[in-house]
Amino acid sequence: MHIHTYEKLWLGLSLLLITGFVATITYGALGAGVEMVDDSGETVDPDALGEHPDFADPGVEQVGPNEYDVYVVAHRFYFEPGSSTQGFAPITVPANSTVNFYITSADVVHGFGVAGTNANTMVIPGEVSELTVEVGEPAEYGIVCNEYCGSGHHTMEGLMQVVPPEEYNGTGSQTERLGGDS
């Protein structure tokens, strides 16, 4: 088969580009430690979340000296906790800590995206999404449901507050859990 010299060169460069892309992604996963949302989360019954030890009363829980677990249930059309515009407490975590999110859905497929960051996952009924985030300086982030979930989809939003550690500990209601009884 006759292949033009320039075309061979182009083919070589194309393969180099592709290999380079795969290499950068591999570096991101192994070197920089960007782990994917995967199948490490358990499976749950979306119709019986009320009986689940963590999702029955979702919220923030301190699990280490500087590490927090956050359980979130996505409903049509609010996050519990998170949707402060609908009466739920914002997700509040202290600055410069490790935050593990465990998110599931009580009904349809939702999205959970922290706007302006790369914290992003699908929320699928029956599955638990696990996502670990290192939070930095105090800031306020919007949370959006970025997967269409029905006619009220555009009203589904939440708020995440990264507060100074002294402020976090200083607020009595936030030392153990929040959002559960809102």
Partner: protein, 589 residues
């Protein structure tokens, strides 16, 4: 568009086949018109410039836009152009024209059923809806008509492939030692890809979603049906793209004044699409829980290698155009660009489409980058990307191709070439504005598929210009695209009133480097199909097995949500439910 006297047109040589092609195009263009109307309604609604519908109905309009444009417009155009290409390149009628008309009728019926289910969503008197978007993931549920229509449509496309394979088998009996003509090769390989790709959606619709919407089963496994959807949902984008590639490879070099550079490389490209299109769908599920990181990595590697056929296409198509320009007297390193027929809407449309495809390819590489995708997944970046690929590379090539093909299908001249030229340039400009705004908004985290991107509890942090500037850009771009669609449709409608004449035939020249330069194994369709199936099994057997092992075939799936059938209880939503026609009249008055 110099015509060649003495070359009979397709319509003259194959009147019945030309009529089938015209009918397929007619359905495609009706869908384009309605889909474009849905598009402008959305663009103006979500940017809060003009609101004709309540926000709860936005998703019905979005479903209509998606399904009509990426299923009906693209695939009806495809079957038209493939019917033309297979008949022309094999110089042979289908074995039975009634069979040909039957599959076209089935496809039309399926589209009608699905379209009716979607449109019912805005008619409060009819108790049906399908505002589940083009990506119809359970447990959001559509009316059974929606799924039934999809099934009938799919069967129609399968029978179209049977028709083309039978035509080819008949040809091969009479030409046992000849290489498959290039256009026929492209049609057959594309259909092999389609048969493999549609397994996923067919299983999902027939065994899960349709029985579930009819009440035969209580719940389905959302992750399983989602994975089956994307098994189909990525290769379908190549089903949209490959007819555009067929036009770029076989028609565009000719209208540039030359001929295809390399027939063997074109075959290699189509074989690569057969092999690599399907085992990549999990790259749409990088953010899904329940699928192991390793399976995502395999899909990512396959996706990156799928860049290869498009990069090879870029070389061959540009080289062929350069050859054409030099035939027309163009000289110099880049000076040949000036010698191209830029006043020809068919050429300019395809060239601009190709340019946009390069840009769309780059944003697609970002999507494909497994961990980089975290930043853009489900943001407005994604529709920004596919409005460059399917919305421009494919749609604009189809429109430009129509300008070249239409006179040969009707024996009538195009009504106005200057309007056609303005139309393709307007599309390019409109899409540049709209998709730029979408890409930028996506980087700020503004989600896709939402009627109200402004939230009450927070604001998006933008670097400069702000969200309102992006909204203006998006709405302006969308308006230009709508005007461009109207110009395209009215130009064609006016062309129908032109007098018939002869001498509109066009001949397609053979490639510079012909099929005899390539190994015969390239034409071994059974071999490539076999390898493609093995690759699919390798990529999908384990993840599907693991999903079923975790949650079972039917759940736990949660209850079904026929969203529009049960009006939401949130305050304010019900108040907004009103007849859209009345509201439109109020706005006009």
């Amino acid at each position: 568009m110099a015509t060649e006297e003495g070359t009979p047109t397709f319509a003259t040589r194959y009147p019945e086949e030309a009529s089938v092609v015209r009918r397929a195009f007619l359905v495609a263009f009706v869908a384009l018109g309605i889909g474009a109307l849905a598009g402008i309604i959305q663009a103006l609604h979500r940017t809060n410039i003009l609101r004709l519908i309540p926000s709860a109905d936005y998703y019905t309009v979005l479903t209509l836009h998606g399904v009509l444009l990426v299923i009906v417009f693209t695939i009806f155009f495809l079957v038209g152009v493939f019917q033309w290409a297979i008949t022309r390149s094999l110089d042979r009628s289908p074995p039975n024209i009634t069979f040909t008309k039957t599959w076209l009728a089935l496809m039309s019926l399926g589209s009608l059923l699905t379209g009716a289910a979607i449109i019912s969503g805005v008619i409060s008197e009819v108790d049906a809806s399908a505002d589940v978007l083009f990506t119809f993931y359970a447990p959001l549920q559509a009316h059974p008509l929606f799924y039934a229509g999809l099934a009938v449509f799919l069967v129609g496309t399968w029978l179209a492939g049977v028709d083309w394979f039978r035509t080819w088998l008949g040809w091969r009996r009479e030409h046992p030692d000849e290489r498959i003509p290039l256009q026929a090769f492209m049609v057959l390989t594309t259909m092999i890809m389609w048969y493999i790709a549609t397994i996923g959606v067919a299983v999902s619709v027939l065994f899960f979603l349709l029985p579930w919407s009819l009440g035969f089963i209580d719940q389905v496994n959302p992750l399983l049906t989602r994975t089956l959807f994307w098994f189909f949902g990525h290769p379908v984008v190549y089903f949209w793209l490959l007819p555009a590639y067929l036009l770029w490879y076989t028609v565009m070099p000719k209208i540039a004044g030359g001929r295809l550079f390399s027939d063997p490389l074109a075959r290699v490209v189509f074989v690569l699409f057969v092999l690599l299109s399907t085992p990549v769908g999990i790259h749409h599920q990088y953010m899904d829980p329940g699928i192991a990181q390793g399976f995502k990595f395999i899909a990512m590697t396959n996706t990156m290698f799928l860049l290869l056929p498009s990069l090879l296409t870029a070389f061959t198509v540009v080289a062929s155009i350069e050859h054409g320009a030099r035939q027309r007297g163009g000289t110099g390193l880049l000076g040949w660009l000036r010698a191209l027929p830029w006043r020809d809407p068919a050429f300019t449309g395809m060239a601009l489409a190709g340019l946009m495809f390069a840009a769309g390819g780059f944003s697609g590489m970002v999507n494909a980058g497994m961990n980089i995708n975290y930043l853009v997944h489900n943001t407005l970046w994604v529709p920004g990307h596919f409005h460059l690929t399917v919305g421009t590379a494919v749609a604009l090539t189809f429109m430009a191709g129509t300008y070249w093909l239409w006179p040969q299908l009707t024996n009538r001249r195009l009504y106005s070439r200057p309007i056609a030229l303005a139309q393709v340039v307007l599309w390019f400009g409109g899409m540049a504005l709209m998709s730029n705004a979408m890409h930028v908004a996506g980087l700020f985290g503004i989600p896709r598929r939402t009627a109200e991107p402004q939230y009450q509890g927070f604001e998006f942090a933008t670097t400069f210009g702000g969200v309102s500037e992006l909204n203006i850009q998006l709405a302006l771009g969308g308006t230009l695209l709508f005007v461009s669609t109207l110009l395209f449709l009215s130009n064609l409608a006016l062309s129908l009133a032109q007098p018939t004449r002869s001498g509109l035939g066009q001949r397609l020249p053979a490639a510079l480097s012909g099929p005899e330069d390539s190994p015969r194994v390239l034409d071994n369709l059974a071999l490539w199909s076999g390898i493609a199936v093995v690759l699919v099994v390798l990529a999908y057997a384990l993840p599907l097995g693991s999903i079923i092992a975790d949650s079972g075939l039917l759940g736990p799936g949660g209850a079904a949500y026929p969203a529009a059938l049960t009006p939401d209880s949130l305050a304010g939503l019900q108040a907004a439910v009103a007849d859209p026609v009345v509201r439109a009249l109020e706005v006009v008055a």
